[in-house]
Amino acid sequence: MSDAAPPIDLDGLRDDGLARIAAATSTDDLKSVEGDVTGKRSALLEARKSLGQLAPEDRKTAGQALNEVKTTLEAAMDARRSELAAVELATQLESERLDLTEVPTGVTVGHAHPVTQAWDELEDVFVGMGYRVAEGPGIETDWHNFDALNIPKGHPARDGFDTLYVEHGPPGSTLLRTHTSPVQIRTMLAQEPPIYIVAPGRVFRRDTADATHLPVFHQIEGLVIDKGISLADLAGTIEAFTTAYFGPGYTSRLRPNYFPFTEPSAEFDVQRPDGSWLELGGCGMVHPNVLRAGGVDPEEWSGFAFGFGIDRLASIKFGISDIRNYFRNDVRFLSQF
């Protein structure tokens, strides 16, 4: 064992270490510098091993000095590492740069038919008013479509419907329903009053398709039967619907009209906030003969019915001028709604 340990150039180690840390160009580079400067085989660690050769009184001073250098170097290392990591992250993120506008726009989303959208919306409005939704078949008996609705065989009004008859059973006995009103009869026969229903559905007329007529279209029918129902209940219900569907500022009026299945009968118009009128549909107090056909006693119960076109409301809502679009199924049309 020698008396005097070789002098440790702590300042040199520190300065050399700081210089190498500062010179490191990447976190990987810094990792190898770390080994050289503070690693197990570094001069600093070698120097620590030699501390044992010092006199105890010197050992403490030298140890402290050595630890100071180590702490300084480690702090420099951490600082440099953060610096380099930040640069490297920035470089990496920059290398990942995307032009997000390059992403193709083509997306296929399914669209509900505009008539279905109007249909659902109408159902929802009436459900909100406490109504149930009733249904009936497209091919109907002439009894449900006409006779039960106070349009007996030979009645001139029967023609106005320009009925399409189908070859099923005795000639003239089955037909494509010309209106949703047969659902009134089916509902009355199926349930006891009070009745509050709407019946949306597809209806058929012997008509040539043009911009405003289709041989197949959609109606919604309303039927209320309860005790003491009057013309005022009809007018109020139409008004309540008008406000609920079109919005505040819309009002309605009834004016006399003729339908075989209602008496008194009326046409109902909706007034827009700008004062203009929209003729919407027909309505009236259910004719006593119709109540009787549905098994309802007209002395005990009274009721009203109304009906209007769903397609027409869809046309208004979406600004559709030619209703032939409704059955062409052009995807360029359907995908707009």
């Binding site: 009436f126 030979g154 189908v166 509050y196 197949v216 005022a232 995807v331």
Partner: protein
């Protein structure tokens, strides 16, 4: 129905005031006014001018240069002219002669169509106004020639003054089917007068009678009371047939009828005014003046006024002569054999009311719809025939110099006078939400001719007038009360149901199904349910669709049994318009042929939901099915199958709860070809009722295992004809309840064409998990072996290395 204000005022002078307000009152009565036109004032600036000279235009073949004399009248813009001096007009018509009086629209005139008349050169020749056709000034329908005026008119006078046409208002009313009374000027006036609270009355149509009584010279007989309600006739002599006066022509024109000759015009005038169609016969051509009515007989024929020879059927009504030969088609059209002519001097004029349905069927069968048949179909007033004939005679006497034979001959037929019906005041007030006293509502209906008796607090007996065939019961009277009192006075009230509003589970389910298809990228289509004959066969389906009895066109004469043809047409339409991304679905009914019985008179009309995707092959269609099944929570299985209309080797039946409920695959290439569709087309068809049944079951939570799961992969080489479903089923059986999922992740070779040995490798990833413990290697090994064993044994599969 076009109604003139001045004409109504002859019945109710109190009808007056702002035309728009009157129109609003009519509309409020249910006599909806479609338009209000003021006539007369549109002739401002149009004068009577005389043609002085006609010369060809030097530079235009189709224009002639006309010199006219304005008679010294000024133009509307103030330009002054000297009487007798020629004023040059360029004119495109050639029908006038020198000396003719013609209507001249002077400078500054605005024509009824909005055109402004100004001085302007036409091909170099100055024109100082415009000569007018009858159509241009609304006098007639003639667009071609200039209207030549009566030579007796004063030259230079304003046209309106010269023709005695004063300003008037035309209400065009949309008369509903229940109001035949409103198909007459008097009927509309009666309703409006009552609404306005002004008096209404028919005029005094008394005529001076002379000569032998009508009954000695003519007779009427009704052989069929079902056909004819009442039949009346009068005889007139000494008739001079000419043109009717301008005022009558004006009124007929305004009402939309064309003036023809004095006697025809009077007939039409009476129909429009009184609502009773009538017909004139040349008395000389009716042996003994004998008219009879009966149903036609098989084989009978008649030549009608339009010169057509028509075969009659027993459903037609006819008017016959003394020889029992048809001389008129009742209520529809007169016969040619008794037609009046310029030589006619004596006529028998007849007014009758016919059975509505007979007239409706005959006019429809022969496609002969007329003003008369319309009125008979809706129901003319049987008690108005005498009045109408009186009015006819009065006008004929005044305008044609006729002498009228004494008496009206009337035959009573099937008309049954109405009996009074009780109407309860309580009921009136309940239905209309009013609190009227009996006298209140009685006054309203008496004003329109409903006679009331036994008026008490409780109600009254009401006699419905003969001109209201639509009204038969208490409720009809209540409607009249409401109509004349005003619907608005009933107020507005919203009845509140005790039930809560809700959609049924099925209705919500249909919305869910639609949303699932839309979420899968498909848009909703609504093809028409009508097909052309052969459409089903072209789609490879049985050609057994229910047929329409009376289709409008053959292309829409069969009801669909399948949505395939309609959706294929939609794809073809889109492809022909170069659309891409054609992916459509439809939810609706198909109509299946079947037996009819009185107990079940309607055919099956099941709801289906179908999808069609252009450019998609069968596997994409199956993926769509899986996606929908996952979205809707339905456990749908498929079984390879051969299905009509679909690709014979790329189709499967869809099974739900052990029952077939649909089909999936590709549309057959032959079908695509028939519909002009290109590329592959994926197809999916599902029964909505079955789906709705499945949607009804609410899933119950199963606890998620807290123990780790283990995956292993197994690949089998199996013959092509072993469906994957079968292997999956075997794996599930062997794996038991610890097999949590089976995923087919590789098929090799993917293309069946690359499998010369008829086999393919199927690689599955199986995930195992227990609810109560971690599965150890030994347990997993046993499960693995069980899976391998079952697949190799059952499906001739070999485990792949």
């Amino acid at each position: 129905m076009k109604v003139l204000l001045s004409w109504m005022q002859e019945f109710a002078p109190g009808i007056d005031g702002d035309p728009a307000e009157l129109a609003a009152q009519l509309t409020d009565l249910g006599l909806v006014v479609e338009s209000v036109d003021e006539t007369g004032p549109a002739w401002d600036g149009i004068i009577v001018a005389k043609v002085l000279d006609l010369a060809p235009h030097p530079d235009a073949d189709r224009i002639q240069v006309v010199q006219v004399d304005t008679g010294g009248a000024s133009a509307l813009d103030g330009t002054e002219y000297v009487a007798g001096e020629p004023l040059q007009i360029c004119c495109g018509a050639f029908n006038m002669a020198v000396g003719d009086l013609v209507p001249l629209a002077t400078l500054g005139t605005t024509m009824p169509n909005g055109m402004e008349i100004a001085q302007r050169p036409m091909r170099g020749q100055m024109s100082n106004g415009m000569l007018c056709s009858g159509a241009e000034i609304g006098l007639d329908d003639d667009h071609d020639g200039i209207r030549i005026l009566d030579p007796s008119l004063p030259l230079g006078a304003p046209l309106a003054e010269a023709l005695g046409s004063t300003s008037d208002v035309v209400f065009d009313i949309d008369v509903e089917g229940n109001r035949p009374d409103a198909l007459s000027v008097a009927g509309v006036a009666r309703d409006l007068a009552a609404k306005l609270g002004v008096p209404f009355s028919f005029g005094d149509y008394a005529v001076a009678e002379s000569g032998a009584p009508a009954a000695d010279r003519a007779s009427v007989t009704i052989e069929s009371n079902e056909l004819c309600a009442r039949f009346a006739a009068r005889v007139l002599d000494g008739i001079t047939i000419g043109t009717s006066p301008q005022w009558m022509q004006d009124r007929l024109t305004a009402a939309g009828m064309r003036p023809i000759s004095s006697i025809v015009d009077i007939s039409n005038y009476v129909m429009l005014e009184q609502g009773v169609p009538n017909h004139t016969y040349d008395l000389a051509l009716v042996p003994d003046g004998a008219l009879s009515t009966r149903m036609a007989r098989e084989g009978e024929r008649i030549t009608t006024l339009d010169g057509q020879d028509r075969a009659l059927i027993p459903a037609d009504g006819v008017i016959t002569n003394a020889a029992d030969e048809p001389i008129g088609l009742a209520g529809v059209m007169g016969g040619a054999s008794t037609e009046i002519s310029d030589a006619t001097t004596s006529v028998v004029v007849e007014a009758a009311v016919w059975d509505r349905m007979t007239i409706a069927w005959t006019s429809r069968r022969l496609d002969l719809r007329s003003e008369a048949s319309t009125r008979f179909e809706r129901g003319a007033d049987p008690m108005a025939v005498e009045r109408a004939l009186d009015r006819f005679c009065q006008l004929a006497q005044e305008l044609c110099g006729a002498s009228v034979a004494p008496g009206t001959i009337v035959a009573e037929g099937g008309y049954a006078p109405n009996e009074p019906i009780p109407v309860r005041t309580e009921r009136v007030n309940l239905i209309l939400n009013l609190s009227l006293s009996t006298p209140d509502w009685v006054a309203l209906v008496e004003a329109i001719g409903f006679e009331c008796s036994n008026v008490t607090d409780a109600g009254a007996d009401v006699l419905i007038p003969s001109w209201r065939p639509d009204a038969t019961g208490e409720i009809d009277v209540i409607e009249e009360v409401g109509r004349h009192h005003g619907y608005a006075k009933s107020g507005k009230r919203v009845p509140v149901p005790e039930q809560t509003g809700a959609l049924t589970p099925d209705q919500l389910g249909r919305r869910r199904i639609r949303r699932a298809f839309m979420a899968a990228g498909l848009s909703e289509a609504m093809p028409m349910a009508f097909l052309a004959p052969g459409d089903l066969a072209a789609a490879g389906l049985p050609d057994d669709g229910i047929r329409l009895s009376n289709p409008l066109v053959a292309e829409e004469s069969v009801l669909r049994t399948s949505m395939l043809p309609g959706l294929l047409k939609s794809v073809a339409y889109n492809q022909s318009h170069r659309a891409t991304e054609i992916a459509l679905f439809e939810l609706g009914a198909v109509y299946l042929p079947g037996e009819w019985s009185e107990e079940s008179p309607l055919p099956e009309q099941p709801e289906q939901v179908c999808a069609i995707v252009a450019g998609a092959d069968a596997s994409e269609a199956v993926q769509l099915l899986h996606r929908l099944a996952a979205d809707l929570g339905l456990d749908l299985q498929i079984v390879n199958d051969e299905l009509a209309g679909l690709h014979p080797t790329r189709a499967a039946s869809v099974i739900f709860r052990g029952r077939p409920m649909g089909q999936v695959g590709e549309v057959s290439p032959a079908v695509l070809d028939a519909y002009g569709v290109t590329g592959r087309v994926g197809w999916l068809q599902l029964d909505v009722a079955a789906m709705l049944a499945g949607l009804g079951s609410v899933p119950k939570m199963k606890a998620v295992s807290t123990y780790p799961s283990s995956d292993f992969d197994l690949a089998f080489v199996v013959p092509n004809d072993v469906p994957v479903n079968d292997i999956v089923r075997s794996l599930k059986r062997a794996g038991g309840n610890r097999l949590r999922s089976v995923d087919l992740f590789d098929v090799y070779p993917p293309n069946p064409a690359d499998r010369p040995d008829g086999k393919r490798s199927l690689a599955f990833r199986l995930r195992f998990q227990a609810d109560d413990r971690t599965l150890d290697d030994e347990a997993l090994g046993k499960l693995r072996d069980a899976c391998i064993e079952l697949v190799t044994k059952r499906h001739k599969g070999e485990l792949r290395g």
